[in-house]
Symmetry: C2
Subunit: 204 residues, 2 copies
């Protein structure tokens, strides 16, 4: 099979990370998700802890998105600039992984970073809110008492993060080659559907 | 096969109408698109010409969306109310068709109208702007000189129309069970992909 790059974007609680991991396994490819943070930390000289903190702040704070839209930053302009450098380091690693060979990348705006790459397929996985609340509670061990706000907070965080770096709307169908409601297919069904797609289009 | 309802939403120039028609043919189901206007006209006592005019105004005018958002209407409140009645008549026909039996419905906010129906699958078909400009010129005979603005005008019109009646963002992946970039699959490939999806999920 010729070189194959796959990006998986997913709503929190849709099972998208699992879909990405199982798809990578079925294709015999490496799957990168949070690992990219470690690799970026090693390569860039930033500590992994700094990257984690940056991600946590950037993706959990509404203040962050307000701050960046104003170009000032609730954490001060210097700090914000550091965060941006950290993300750019991660984006460099994504490009490097893609240059090195076939792989699956979950999250991290990889669809945007690799938008000009050939043989790159972009998938988005989503599910109704109620189903994601249930999955987040049962599978991810989230506290059921405030699960709705937890899931919505993750959605907001991913949308903010994506918009900040791409100026595009996360979850807009036109950004992806194929988008799937995993409540209709299940995780295994989604993996099979994506494999079928790749067999047809890319002859994997 | 048990009752099967399919809605197709599509960007202008994506080949989505053709996908809907070929999918319906492959499944042996009726396909409704603009025909719904004729049926709504017959059933509601409005003339088909009035429905066509209403659609043309509603979907081609930015003024329309401004007017409706203000709740006044560039065409006057009485006229606007008539337009809404015409659309509601069309929505009634969609529900009636869905109640009567399996079918494919293209456009007309059918995904929203039938959102609570069981055994109903919602598909969205899209493609990059350049490819849609080419298709609109070659296949639909649009004037190539101002093709970009023509395609963008249609996009805007569909988004306005959809937002007015549903308060949702047309083309948001989460509204559909499956979304596809037809430039990657071609029209025939998209039909095959949707058939495979339905065979897997619905056992058609």
């Amino acid at each position: 099979m010729s070189k194959l790059l796959i990006t998986i974007s997913r709503e929190y609680g849709s099972g998208g990370l699992l879909v990405g991991q199982e798809l990578a396994e079925a294709l015999g490819l490496p799957c990168y998700d949070k690992k990219l943070l470690t690799i970026a930390a090693e390569k860039s000289g930033f500590s992994e802890e700094m990257l984690r903190q940056a991600e946590s702040r950037a993706t959990n704070s509404l203040l962050y998105s307000l701050a960046t839209s104003l170009g000032v930053g609730a954490f001060g302009p210097d700090t914000l600039s550091l965060y941006d450098k950290l993300y750019l380091a991660q984006f460099d690693v994504i490009r490097q992984m893609a240059d090195e060979g076939s792989c699956v990348i979950v999250g991290r705006c990889a669809d945007y970073v690799l938008r000009a790459y050939e043989n790159c397929y972009h998938f988005f996985l989503h599910a109704p809110l109620e189903d994601r609340m249930e999955r987040a509670t049962k599978e991810y061990g989230e506290n059921p008492n405030n699960i709705k706000s937890t899931v919505l907070k993750h959605d907001k965080a991913r949308a903010n993060y994506y918009y900040h770096y791409t100026s595009q709307k996360w979850g807009d169908a036109k950004l992806y080659d194929l988008s799937l409601n995993t409540s209709r297919t299940g995780v295994d069904g989604a993996v099979k559907m994506l494999l079928h797609y790749l067999e047809t289009i890319h002859a994997v």
